[in-house]
């Protein structure tokens, strides 16, 4: 327990959760059951890629590497995943390729920043520009993904009244995996040896080094695990959520994810809550458009999720404190 619980900010994530639940609760009474369910379910669908993308940021930054190349990682892996799935007629192979692409992209980022001490913001920008250019150039219209993923209902949870139908049924495999992966990362980060070492490397690499921990290796590994998750998200969006690849499909998801990571205070569960809140707001806005709210210009409804999220998070987040060594390359011989 110790510090892990103390560093976990109850005030913030409890507040986020209670606001989210409250909004949901109001909605249940105001509208009918079916619409509530569909809004919550699509909120989860909107929120999950964001939540997973912010895990990439958390994996990197907690070990001391700023990665603004999440966007590019997702774009590249969505691209390779989709086309490999399309040509091989096998979405599983597509997903594996997407993940490998993510790992490879982050390996490039890791080499540039960790081994060669390059500015981390510039390295991330390079990856983003490269990904955008490369995927646009190689883009060919008319490909499709051959088959679809199986859909799951989680045995007991899906039977919970109100929430069960919207949260725990009709899930694609990657979405399902995400629901385990995120708490998993929290446990790894806060309860395991690997997590303690990762955090120490992100807070004070000098301390880790003198304790005999290999800072460079620790950072490389974490950034590449982050890359694998980034690849997974890219694949998730192109192969499961949307089922196609379009130019620059990420549309800022990677950057939004970084903001959510900060709002969640570099805590996987916090970032998850923030992402789901954002997803719910987006789903609500979509629902408002379906209802045909006529007396308000459409643009105002589309910005609602952003405004709502900014307000909630601004009031709940308070002063944030990033990992102390994030963004600083580690050099051994300092004297």
């Amino acid at each position: 327990m110790l510090n892990t619980i103390k560093s976990f900010n109850f005030k913030s994530w409890k507040f986020l959760l209670s606001v989210a639940t409250f909004a949901l609760w109001i909605y249940c009474y105001a509208a009918n059951m079916d619409i509530t369910n569909s809004v919550v379910a699509s909120g989860m669908r909107f929120g999950m890629p964001l939540a997973l993308a912010s895990m990439v940021g958390i994996m990197c930054e907690r070990s001391g590497v700023i990665n603004i190349g999440i966007e590019g990682t997702m774009l590249l892996s969505g691209f390779t995943g989709f086309y490999v799935a399309s040509y091989s007629k096998n979405i599983v192979i597509g997903l594996v390729i997407a993940i490998l692409t993510g790992v490879l992209t982050s390996f490039v980022h890791a080499m540039m920043t960790i081994k060669w001490g390059m500015d981390q913001i510039i390295a991330g920008t390079i990856i983003n520009i490269l990904a955008s250019g490369l995927t646009s150039f190689l883009y060919r219209e008319g490909s499709t993904v051959p088959n679809t993923w199986p859909i799951f209902d989680i045995p007991i949870l899906s039977k919970i009244p109100l929430l069960g139908a919207s949260l725990f049924s009709q899930l694609g495999p990657i979405q399902l995996f995400g629901m385990f992966l995120i708490p998993g990362i929290w446990v790894m980060m806060n309860k395991t040896r690997w997590g303690l070492r990762t955090r120490s490397v992100g807070e004070n690499p000098g301390a880790a080094d003198t304790a005999g921990i290999n800072v460079i290796r620790m950072r490389m590994t974490n950034v590449m695990i982050g890359g694998a998750i980034g690849g997974l998200v890219g694949g998730f969006i192109c192969l499961e959520l949307v089922g196609s690849f379009s130019k620059d499909f990420t549309a800022g998801t990677g950057f939004t994810a970084l903001a959510l990571m900060i709002f969640g205070r570099w805590n996987p569960l916090g970032a998850f809550a923030a992402a789901i809140l954002f997803g719910l707001a987006q789903a609500l806005a979509t629902q408002l458009q379906i209802f045909g709210v006529n007396n308000v210009p459409n643009q105002f409804i589309t910005i609602l999720p952003y405004v709502f999220t900014i307000l909630v998070l601004a009031f709940s987040a308070g002063k944030v404190r990033p990992p102390a060594a994030a963004g600083k390359p580690y050099e051994k011989e300092q004297s």
Binding site: L2, N204, G206, A208, S335
Partner: protein, 503 residues
């Protein structure tokens, strides 16, 4: 039986063009406390970093218990039972004491850390070596002395045979230093060999079994405390005789130039740290403010120099109210400031020595004409200053960061003392610098005082306060608790006042 624990043979290390270590040989026996004494830049840190594998020496061998250890490999050093407590703590401030201590070798069940065992093992270590600490406390909330304790425990947990302490007392209060020296004695009686780096002679004489003196990267002599005195060691250290008693004329105090009335100032945590302080400073005197660090000295100095807002009360400079003025306005009123943290507040690390010497007057003639700077004037002025203040550098064009701590401080002193100031506020002016530079800076402060300038000297070094002050103000809990005459006061009396005892 061979009792030699560590044997360093002919170790050399060159950084760029500087020979940090030049053919040094050294031995440490079981349970022996060896003090490594030397000025800043003498190569003490490089030597012990080589032993611990943080620095890879160019040549030479390091043998522990008869086994040669691989150069530049920290993990190997730890495996061979070498532990090191760094000058700058290597702790993760946001983590708990236990987490910091177990880092790198965590008790675990599978992948999971066993926090119960971690706490247990910290307790065990604390008991064994008499180093009491709460394993669940967050490190950044602890005072410096306790943070150091965490560092020591961290090293001890690895079953060290040899413990290296790199300037462990530089940041400690007198009370904490006493405790640390006791800890060192305990450890050595349990058979741990200790290398203790310091440039404080008093400590060396108090705790060392053997003293090794380094100068300019070379080992220049070995001594025992019994046959040494402070002055004989100092002479070895800097290669010439040092006069500890300063040539000090009688002070001729004049009018009050700084008057502080009932001042209240808050610290960074928004807690009141200067608590209704009143004090007056006269022209031509050195008023030493003694006190354990953290009793509001920093906030007082920052308030007086305009760097920190005051809450209540006022202070006036030469009769004019200065409360609420900004640093430049206060500087213009005739106040010079030698800040406590020269790296953070005193110098701009990436600028040259020249530029740093004119930081507070770059916009005045002759250094500038309207908007246009006169670089030639800056350079020729800087050249004079470098000479006058004995800043050791090939040229003023070099970045300030190429200088050692003592020379950096000389740059700050040169800048602040070459003005027509009426008041010099000097905070920890000799912290972390070598004896030669300390002597120089003290003489400069005395010269200023003799020319009628008022000096407010804030220092955690009691010796410094006692040797150059004309009056001593003891600060405790944000107030001045006593004003003493250095001629009829002893260390213990001040020590008691500093610790909060009433007179």
């Amino acid at each position: 039986m061979d009792t030699t624990l560590l044997r360093i043979e002919n170790l050399s290390k060159t950084f760029a063009t500087v020979k940090a270590n030049d053919n040094i040989s050294l031995e440490v026996n079981k349970g022996e406390v060896v003090a490594l004494l030397g000025e800043n830049g003498a190569g003490k840190s490089t030597l012990v970093k080589s032993v611990f594998g943080l620095v890879k020496p160019d040549s030479g061998t390091i043998t522990i218990k008869g086994e040669v250890i691989e150069a530049g490999d920290t993990a190997a050093a730890i495996r061979h039972g070498i532990g090191m407590v760094h000058q700058h703590f290597q702790l993760v401030p946001v983590m708990s004491v236990a987490e910091n201590i177990i880092l790198g070798d965590e008790p675990h069940k599978g992948a999971f850390i066993s926090y119960a065992e971690a706490r247990e093992s910290v307790k065990e270590l604390s008991d064994k070596f008499g180093l009491d600490i709460d394993p669940d406390a967050i490190v950044e909330d602890l005072p410096v002395g306790l943070q150091q304790r965490v560092e020591i425990l961290k090293a001890l947990r690895k079953n060290v045979d040899l413990l290296i302490l790199d300037e462990p007392t530089a940041v400690l209060t007198p009370q904490e230093i006493e405790e640390l020296l006791q800890v060192i004695r305990n450890l050595s009686s349990q058979g741990v060999g200790i290398i203790f780096i310091t440039h404080k002679l008093r400590e060396v004489l108090a705790v060392a079994d053997r003293i090794v003196v380094l100068r300019n990267g070379k080992s220049v002599g070995t001594a025992t405390p019994k046959e040494s005195t402070e002055s004989s060691l100092a002479q070895l250290m800097i290669g010439r005789e040092v006069i500890f008693r300063l040539d000090k004329k009688e002070a001729k105090p004049g009018a009050v130039v700084l008057e502080i009335e009932d001042l209240y100032v808050k610290d960074d945590r928004k807690l009141m740290s200067v608590n209704g302080l009143s004090l007056s400073l006269h022209a031509g005197e050195i008023l030493g403010v003694a006190g354990v660090e953290g009793n509001g000295q920093r906030e007082l100095v920052e308030a007086l120099t305009g760097m920190r807002p005051t809450v209540k009360g006022s202070f006036s400079i030469l009769g004019e109210v200065a409360t609420g003025k900004n640093p430049r306005a206060i500087h213009t009123m005739g106040v010079s400031h030698v800040p406590e943290d020269r790296e953070k507040d005193g110098l701009i690390a990436t600028l040259s020595i020249d530029e740093n010497l004119v930081l507070n007057q770059y916009k005045n003639p002759p250094f500038a004409k309207g908007w246009i700077r006169n670089i030639a004037a800056v350079n020729s002025y800087a050249e004079k200053m470098i000479e006058k203040f004995d800043v050791r550098t090939p040229s003023g064009k070099y970045p300030i960061n190429s200088l050692s701590g003592g020379n950096k401080q000389k740059v700050v002193i040169a800048r602040e003392m070459s003005q027509d100031s009426k008041i010099i506020i000097a905070s920890q002016p000799t912290r972390g610098i070598d004896i030669g530079s300390i002597e120089f800076i003290h003489n400069q402060l005395l010269a200023s005082r003799d020319s009628g300038v008022a000096v407010l000297l804030v220092s955690a070094e009691l010796d410094e306060i006692l040797s150059i002050s004309d009056r001593i103000a003891v600060m405790y809990g944000g107030k001045i608790v006593a004003i003493l005459d250095p001629h009829d006061v002893d260390r213990t009396q001040i020590g008691r006042l500093m610790a909060g005892a009433t007179q």
